[in-house]
């Protein structure tokens, strides 16, 4: 486990560092406070000692020693006394050789490689000097500071254990989620339980569940589509098989000719169905990938579509034309929009009886570019106008051999471009009017 990426490791390291720093700060403050307190106390002590040793008459060595020994904690103190003529009259037992000269009052004196605090007082009878090694004071402050560190040293492992325990406990649900997700089959997209998760992790798991939901929807749609497609392929294949068998049975040239023509038509239909399936699959895939868009000139596209399908229309003696074309451009995928328009017009031509009319119009209306394809065909009854968008749905009684996918493709493309698709009755031509509204403004 790399400490830098483990929540628990990081927490423990930072906690350790914080506690150590706090302890050091505490010790340092305690040391300084103790040192300054010790200075005051010992200075006072030295002063009192010097004053008590002062007397109008010079003390003998013995007297001074007795007096010295009465004072508490005097082991560290070095006392020297001089007579007014400068002769040393007393020197306490000490290895320390302090300077013979003394400055009156407090002073710090360096001698023998250490620093002494010295207090000197002069009376008419003698000069009294009390000195103390500063190391004594530092040692005392140091001991005091060390003692304040004690409780912290005891608390530190306990604190770290508690943190370890709390963090482990909090992360347990996360480990559970990890296990659940790791043990999953590829097609198991049910939500992961969010119960017991820490607040910091729950949003992540929640978003994950939402993603699972979206993937599941797409997955289910795809599965349905494959099932539908397999089912729908059966009919053209059944037709092909029957057509091939009837060709086999044809016993005269005329019957054979009919059979071949039917077989060819059957193959064309199966081909068309497969093509449409591919188009639909690609449209849905690019919808999922969010393919790049660019401005598309709808008027140009409409002219191109009419040009493409003029031959088909003429073969059925249908009057196909671009009735009106405002200049309009929308943001989108040129190929997809071409398929949309082409399918709409192809449908109109296919379902309009020979001699009929198909009109395309592109108009700019309030905030939208509206493409309409109207025909003089039989139209679609109002109660079927929603169902025709379902894949593989075919209007009852329609003679044309459609794949049942054209409108589903058109709808998929329209939705992806934020456009709305509506079917209505054409007021002018009496047949179907397919109206696609592209909202403008984003373009």
């Amino acid at each position: 486990m790399r400490m830098t990426h483990s929540l628990r490791g990081r927490l423990l390291w930072f906690l350790l560092a914080a506690i150590t720093l706090a302890a050091l700060a505490q010790a340092s403050i305690a040391y300084n406070t103790a040192l300054s307190d010790a200075d005051q106390i010992f200075d006072y002590h030295m002063q009192q000692m010097a004053l008590s040793l002062r007397s109008s008459t010079p003390l003998s060595n013995t007297e001074a020693r007795e007096k010295l020994e009465e004072a508490p904690g005097n082991d560290d103190l070095v006392v020297q006394m001089w007579s007014p003529d400068g002769v040393q009259v007393f020197h306490s037992v000490s290895r320390a050789r302090l300077p013979q000269r003394a400055v009156l009052g407090f002073s710090n004196v360096k001698a023998n490689g250490t620093t002494y605090r010295v207090f000197s007082i002069q009376t008419s009878g003698q000069t009294v000097q009390v000195a103390q090694d500063l190391a004594v004071r530092r040692n005392m402050a140091g001991n005091l500071a060390l003692r304040t560190l004690g409780p912290t040293a005891v608390m530190m492992p306990i604190l770290m254990l508690v943190v370890w325990w709390v963090v482990s406990g909090s992360l347990k649900p996360v480990a559970r989620v990890r296990k659940q997700v790791a043990a999953r089959q590829a097609d198991d997209l049910s939500p992961v339980s969010e119960a017991g998760l820490p607040d910091e992790v729950r949003p992540l798991v929640h978003e994950l569940n939402l993603l699972f939901g979206r993937v599941k929807t797409a997955f289910d749609a795809q599965q349905h589509f494959v099932a539908d497609a397999a089912h729908e392929l059966r009919t053209p294949l059944a037709a092909l098989r029957l057509q091939a068998q009837s060709l086999d049975r044809a016993d005269n040239p005329e019957a054979r000719k009919t059979a071949v023509a039917r077989l060819t038509a059957g193959i064309d239909r199966a081909t068309r169905l497969v093509e449409q399936l591919l188009v639909l699959a690609r449209q849905e895939a690019s919808a999922a990938n969010g393919a790049a868009t660019r401005p598309v000139d709808l008027a140009e596209l409409a002219r191109r579509t009419v040009g493409d399908l003029t031959g088909l229309a003429q073969a059925k003696n249908i009057d196909l034309g671009l009735q009106h074309a405002d200049e309009a451009s929308v943001n989108g995928q040129p190929d997809a929009l071409h398929i949309l328009l082409r399918n709409l017009v192809e449908n109109a031509v296919k379902y309009t009886p020979a001699g009929g009319t198909v009109d395309i119009a592109l108009r700019l209306e309030a905030g939208a570019a509206v493409v309409s394809v109207e025909d003089s065909g039989p139209g679609i009854p109002p109660d079927e106008r929603e169902r025709v968008f379902d894949r593989f749905y075919r209007v009852a009684g329609s003679e044309a051999a459609g794949s049942g996918l054209g409108l589903a493709i058109i709808k998929a493309i329209a939705e992806r471009h934020g456009a709305t698709l509506r079917l209505d009755q054409s007021e002018r031509l009496g047949g179907l009017a397919a109206i696609v509204r592209f909202p403008l403004g984003k373009a």
Binding site: H231, A238, A239, L242, Q245, S246, R262, R394, V395, E399
Partner: protein, 220 residues
Amino acid sequence: MRLLLVEDDTMIGEVVLDLLRAEHYAVDWVKDGEMADTALVQNQNYDLVLLDLGLPRKDGLDVLRSMRTRKDRTPVLVATARDSVPQRIAGLDAGADDYVLKPYDLDELLARIRALLRRAAGRAEPIFEYKNISINPATRETLVDGEPVSLSAREWAVLEALVARPGAVLSRAQLEEKLYSWRDEVSSNAVEVYIHGLRKKLGSDLIQNVRGVGYMVPKA
């Protein structure tokens, strides 16, 4: 034999229609469930219904259920792309006599049609025999004293209808219905002409005239 073909797919429908007509069945073709209902109610003389299930307007299963609710016992051969086991069970339980899956083989379809027609006539044996005459509906082979006899398509259709239900009397109108689908013009004395032809080829014993009622083939 008169069949009702219920099939919404134009390509499949036209091939099956041609095929069945080539087999000398009289076939009517409807393309949706409601039309199938209408045809079945108006003409109760179909010998078999070839039923697709995925139909516009009214589902094939519903057509089948309404038939059985009306006590219509016409054999129904379901021909469909619905291939899951529960779907097949649902089809048979709704009253289908047999179930074939698309894409099916033409010869198999014909054999299943013959089997259903045979069973509907109360026979299990495929060949009808009477005295010196032997009739095989599968091959449409008719033997007299072991020698094949050549029959016209119409003659065969009349003979097949009579042989299908030995002992049952069929009126001239009933025979006409077996002979002609909606597309055909029926001449007034056609049935008599074919009966006459059959008697000439098979002898007068087989087809008996029940005066004022119609014709019958005696039970073997």
